[in-house]
């Protein structure tokens, strides 16, 4: 972070933005290609069907569940072929461009090497598309070829240059946030730095919005994808939405990764939309379009493809019954490697089949749902209030202090900037509960609720809930269960 500026949840001055921009655009040679006036003109010329915000709004109004795959390969030519298949055969409503891991760490030289080696090897040696290295003109080929909006998906703590290049190239949807693209995706990037970098990205989107080009910003709900309790991902998603809205973002998607228990997941989806809207409105951002996205199970998958399809279909059913605006679909190759186009299409079609078969049943009301929603809302309320308290009214500062204090904490994350002292575990029904609270600012009632659920499982399995149980839960779905069995 620019040491002159203290982190604050306040819209950046133009002068600060312009000054920082100069440095960003010279991080890699392709930065010079970015020209905002030209970018705006390019976006304006796109039909609404290719602009994420417009499509999301339409789906939101019609209560339609969109599908989106993940996909990205090293070479542009192959990436174009891949996306065309996903759109035509997989009927993807939104296309992705998933960025490779070197680019995510701003290691553009290594990405360049990856492109070269991939060309030589005749197959992709990168786990995504190195958009920065390709530059604006090349990236535009992706947007031009697609018939639907294309989103950048990555996991980049410092995505400033990536955002500059890809938005200028006409991408209308950009995933990530200062928390969700740092803590699960990095080892030692300070949180204030990543939040500041994402304020930059949000401010850039704000600048687009001021020119009537609304870029959608999606927050990465699943975090580490591994037994994350809904209250944690909800709190973080909502905080990221508030930070983005402050910088002028007008279209925001917040997300949630499937836990596996239908009642908890339904409650999570319903409360996410409601809480998100409430917090935005309360902060004066009632004009923001808030949508939700659901990720099919983000933890370890079974290796067998038929079993993987079962996991995928159960995710689809949950999305349909819980209600959400978009689903990010997994593939039957999940446990093994980057999926082929075929596998990706299979994931999409299976998901679509289940969602549309269940469309007629979305009013399903399960017993215990209201209780579960109330619990999530209380937990999120407890967390966010404490964050604001610690920030002495400033959300951004509150976030940094909360991670230090363990008030915000992401289980199983690689980053040294989260305490990692929250330990989740499943209850007897497979809902994700909390075994160790770390610094979570929970009321006695909330703690009591988790404890009683965890103890109940312990009794029924006749073992003390502990790390063994957690490990069993981590492996469970890949071994064909939801709740890990004692070995």
């Amino acid at each position: 972070m620019n040491p002159k500026e203290e982190l604050q949840n306040r819209r950046w001055d133009d002068s600060r933005f312009v000054a920082e921009r100069g440095a960003v655009l010279t991080q890699w040679p392709t930065g010079v290609e970015v020209d905002l006036a030209d970018a705006f003109a390019f976006h304006r010329a796109l039909p609404e069907s290719k602009r994420a915000y417009h499509k999301l709004r339409m789906g939101y109004e019609k209560d339609y569940i969109f599908l989106q795959p993940r996909a990205g390969v090293a070479l542009l030519s192959e990436h174009l072929i891949l996306l065309a298949k996903l759109e035509e055969e997989g009927r993807a409503d939104f296309l992705p461009t998933t960025i490779d891991s070197y680019t995510r760490q701003n290691r553009y030289e290594e990405a360049q090497k990856g492109i070269k080696e991939s060309k030589l090897a005749g197959r992709s040696l990168l786990n995504g598309f190195p958009a920065v290295n390709y530059g604006v003109a090349n990236c535009r080929k992706i947007v031009e070829a697609a018939g639907v909006p294309v989103q950048i998906r990555h996991g980049t703590p410092d995505a400033r240059l990536l955002a500059e290049i890809t938005l200028a190239a006409g991408f209308s949807d950009f995933e990530g946030g200062g928390i969700s693209y740092n803590i699960p995706y990095a080892r030692d990037i300070p949180l204030d730095l990543s939040i500041s970098h994402w304020q930059y990205v949000d401010r850039l989107c704000g600048a687009y919005a001021e020119n009537d080009i609304i870029i959608n910003r999606e927050m990465f709900g699943p975090l580490t994808g591994t037994l994350v309790p809904p209250c944690i991902s909800h709190a973080i998603g909502i905080i990221e939405a508030l930070l983005a809205a402050e910088q002028g973002v007008k279209s925001i998607t917040i997300g949630y990764g499937q836990g596996g228990n239908l009642v908890q997941d339904t409650a999570a989806l319903r409360s996410l939309a409601r809480l998100g809207r409430t917090y935005l409105e309360r902060a004066g951002f009632g004009d923001v379009l808030l949508t939700t996205v659901f990720h099919q199970w983000m933890g370890g998958f079974p290796q067998d493809e038929a079993r993987a399809m079962g996991v995928i279909a159960w995710g689809a059913a949950t999305a349909a019954l819980g209600g959400v605006n978009k689903v990010i679909a997994k593939t039957p190759h999940e446990a093994l490697g980057i999926p082929t186009a075929r596998a990706n299409i299979a994931g999409l079609l299976c998901t679509r089949q289940v969602i549309s078969m269940l469309e007629a049943q979305k009013s399903l009301q399960a017993e215990g749902l209201e209780e579960e929603e109330a619990i999530i809302e209380r937990e999120v309320g407890e967390i966010i209030s404490r964050v604001l308290e610690l920030g002495e009214g400033d959300l951004a500062r509150g976030v940094v202090r909360s991670f230090e204090a363990g008030v915000l904490d992401i289980p199983f994350a690689p980053s040294s900037w989260t305490r990692g002292s929250v330990i989740p575990v499943r209850d007897q029904d497979g809902a994700i509960r909390i075994l160790r609270f770390g610094g979570l600012p929970f009321s006695p009632e909330t703690r009591g609720f988790h404890r009683s659920r965890v103890e109940q499982r312990g009794r029924s399995e006749k073992r003390e809930p502990g790390f063994r149980m957690v490990i069993d839960d981590i492996y469970a779905i890949s071994k064909g269960r939801l709740v890990g069995k004692p070995r």
Partner: protein, 137 residues
């Protein structure tokens, strides 16, 4: 297993998959090993320095994210240069980009000088049994 039951553990390259790494640490410790866990995003140099410093018997490299083929190349050579050419090198995870037959992958990593190569989803217990065997032979 007499002497150096110390294992250096880490996830190589720009890879941040942390879950398996945390589990490996725990299970290795439970099995009586001393573990030097470097966590995620570990460079080849960090692996070697840690191994030299701790006089470790083995390095366990994880690579999940698909860049394993690029990231893992050259580690054996660097070990030799550092004077620990004989150290056991195990590697596991989702080693290459995409779904490829494990035979191909195994061959690739054998040629790079790894002693044991594990396919996705390997349970730690399996490799721990091998490690005990290899360290005592």
């Amino acid at each position: 297993m007499l002497r150096n039951n110390r294992v250096v553990l880490g996830v190589i390259g720009a890879d941040v998959h942390a879950v398996g790494n945390k589990i490996l640490e725990m299970v290795l410790k439970e099995a009586g090993f001393q573990v030097i866990n470097l966590g995620v995003m570990v460079s080849q140099e960090e692996f070697i320095n840690a191994a030299v410093e701790s006089d470790a018997g083995a390095i366990w490299v994880s690579s999940l994210y698909g860049h394993g083929e690029i990231d893992c190349r050259g580690l054996r050579e660097k070990c030799r240069e550092a004077g620990i050419g004989e150290i056991l090198l195990y590697v596991g995870g989702n080693l290459v980009v995409g779904k490829r037959t494990f035979d191909e992958v195994e061959k690739l990593f054998k040629e790079m000088g790894y002693d044991r190569i594990y396919p996705p989803g390997t349970l730690p217990e399996v490799a721990i049994a091998h490690l005990k065997e290899d360290l005592s032979s």
